[in-house]
């Protein structure tokens, strides 16, 4: 998968140029840079320059027109001691873990239920997958309506049939974070399901035959044959979901905007408010750098754990 693809640069079938063709090689490399130029310009302007500026700003008090003032690590101290930041970090971690685990477990169950060749299964899979394709903004607005906190709101009506509720969902600080998490799982599980289905297709069928000859039950087969074969899939899904969970923004921004009473404030919504509404650019930048570093560390940790296990 992408994040783990070993970079094999240079065409596999490329003939090495003859030693006499030095000029041709130099020309070839000039051509290569010409083809790369648009990408390099865009990546530099919109990825690397912003990253460098985030790092620079994080050590300054940013004062437009007055010039920035060097403040050393003050901004970072603010990030790791400020209560708002600490609780935002807490919410982000809870949300990331909950959504990652929830999506993977539910995604696996879904995949096991709809694995197969029949045409009707294709229909079920496609229908289940739709939330993943829908724009996040649409998903958030639809769920705001579904979560309507009156007893005859959509979800409350369904809960009413089974004798639960009514709940305040997004409107109460006791349930808001869980309600947001449920939306994330609803949209994330179908994605994981599709990846699992692809993984399941790759499981060696002769192992199923063998375990069946041995008289193993379906559950034992699942535990001893299927799940171990999916180890790589788990690692990939974990990395992707964790990265995505850390930078969660749009759904919070639209569902609760951090409320009620800060109960769903995550790092990105806090950074957004600090940077673009309160103009505390330096502190916001420090928060971004912390988020970036955690993403990088998390990715590398999972990748190296994977690489050590099974060299693929």
């Amino acid at each position: 998968m992408t994040l783990v693809a070993s970079p094999r640069v240079g065409a596999r079938g490329a003939p090495t140029p003859a030693p006499s063709s030095k000029r041709r090689r130099r020309r070839g490399s000039l051509v290569a840079w010409a083809f790369l130029a648009p990408a390099l310009i865009l990546f530099t302007l919109f990825k690397f320059v912003p990253m460098a500026r985030a790092i620079g700003m994080s050590f300054h008090e940013v004062r437009p027109y007055l010039g920035d003032r060097w403040v050393g690590t003050d901004n970072y101290r603010e990030v790791v001691t400020n209560d708002a930041f600490l609780s935002a970090i807490g919410h982000t971690v809870v949300l990331a873990i909950g959504q990652t685990a929830g999506s993977i477990i539910l995604g696996l169950i879904l995949a096991l239920l709809v694995e197969g060749q029949a045409k009707s299964l294709w229909f079920v899979r496609t229908a289940v997958f739709l939330p993943t394709v829908a724009a996040m903004a649409v998903v958030a607005e639809v769920w705001r309506i579904l979560y309507y906190p009156a007893p005859d709101g959509a979800i409350n009506s369904v809960l009413g049939w089974v004798g639960v509720g009514p709940s305040q969902f997004l409107n109460s600080q006791d349930t808001s974070l869980w309600s947001v998490m449920a939306v994330g799982i609803w949209r994330g599980a179908p994605y994981d399901m599709m990846i699992f289905i692809a993984g399941l297709a790759g499981v060696d069928r002769t192992l199923y035959e063998a375990s069946s000859v041995d008289g193993a039950s379906a559950w034992r087969r699942l535990w001893h044959v299927t799940l171990p074969s999916l180890r790589a899939v788990f690692a990939i899904l974990f990395t992707l979901a964790a990265i995505r969970g850390m930078r969660v923004f749009t759904e919070i921004f639209l569902l609760t905007n951090g409320g009620p009473n800060g109960s769903t404030e995550v790092l990105m919504t806090l950074i957004y408010k600090l940077g673009l509404e309160r103009n505390e650019l330096g502190v916001a930048a420090a928060g971004s750098v912390v988020l970036l570093l955690s993403t990088v560390v998390l990715t590398l940790a999972v990748q190296s754990a994977r690489a050590r296990r099974g060299r693929r």
Partner: protein, 286 residues
């Protein structure tokens, strides 16, 4: 008994198994597609407040859409199409040309460039939001202000590592002999790239096309940073300002949301095979 699936759930025979399956699948479809289906039905129904969301309409109406159009939804839709059209075109052109260099040329520094591009998959718009907003307001070197212009939503999406990765993996598989043959016939690099390599990449172009489309349509942070007033809102960004309407209530939001939902769903249904290939061959949405 043959085992083709892990659980064997889909292979069980008999009326009981069939009934259980039917119930389970109906429940799954209702849970995951139900809310979107309710959106579809309710957008055409007189739904004034959130409690009247419905799957079975009492009467069909276009009032919600009329209200949405009165509230400039067509402008937002047009903005969205301009951004997705321009952004996708730029993204595909930039990606195929970069992939061509990385996959089929040998030059010093190639490995470093590849790793740098790959590393940006850990740098989504969200994390870079604050400095990105400053860069957009005053683009380095050229000193252009892209804030308040749709161009500001288009140009940054040109840098998309996923497409370069998918494209270059695909291009590596194309035999070098084809290129050599064209070169002997006197074709230059651009000619070879355009008429020999690209036509062979059609399957991969489908993959990066459909992924790029859904990714750009889903963009929220970038339009949020760039848009200064409603005239530049994309449809997903505008939803927040369309939550209620004097005449049709929440109906206006349902109509607008449906219009924001359909393009990505239809694109997915039309290019489902390419989408799945992208998902499984290296699916990273940022």
């Amino acid at each position: 008994m043959r085992h083709d699936t892990a659980l064997g759930f889909t292979e069980l025979k008999g009326p009981l198994a069939r009934t259980v399956r039917f119930v389970v699948y109906t429940a799954l479809v209702l849970v995951f597609a139900g809310p979107l289906l309710a959106l579809l039905v309710s957008a055409f129904s007189p739904v004034h407040d959130p409690t009247s969301l419905t799957l079975l309409p009492s009467r069909l109406t276009l009032d919600n859409f009329r209200a949405a159009i009165r509230r400039d939804v067509l402008t937002y839709l047009l903005n969205s199409f301009i951004v997705v059209g321009g952004g996708l075109l730029l993204q595909v052109l930039v990606s195929v040309s970069a992939a061509y260099a990385l996959a089929r040329k040998q030059f010093p520094g190639a490995r470093l460039v590849f790793l740098l591009i790959l590393s940006t998959m850990m740098l989504p718009e969200e994390i870079l939001a604050i400095p990105l907003s400053l860069v957009l307001a005053d683009v380095p070197v050229v000193h252009v202000n892209l804030v308040g212009s749709l161009v500001g939503m288009i140009v940054p999406v040109g840098a998309w590592a996923f497409s370069i990765l998918v494209m270059s993996e695909f291009m590596r598989e194309i035999p070098m002999e084809l290129e050599e043959a064209a070169r002997l016939d006197g074709a230059g690099d651009l000619r070879i790239f355009w008429s020999v390599v690209l036509p062979l990449c059609r399957p991969a172009l489908g993959v990066i096309g459909i992924f790029g489309f859904t990714m750009i349509w889903d963009q929220y942070m970038l339009p949020l940073l760039v848009a200064q007033d409603a005239a530049q809102f994309t449809l997903p960004l505008a939803l927040r300002s369309l939550r209620s309407d004097e005449q049709v209530g929440v109906g206006v939001l349902l109509a607008a949301s449906l219009l924001a939902l359909l393009p990505s769903v239809l694109a997915f249904l039309a290019f489902q095979r390419q989408f799945m290939r992208g998902l499984t061959s290296g699916a990273v949405k940022g």
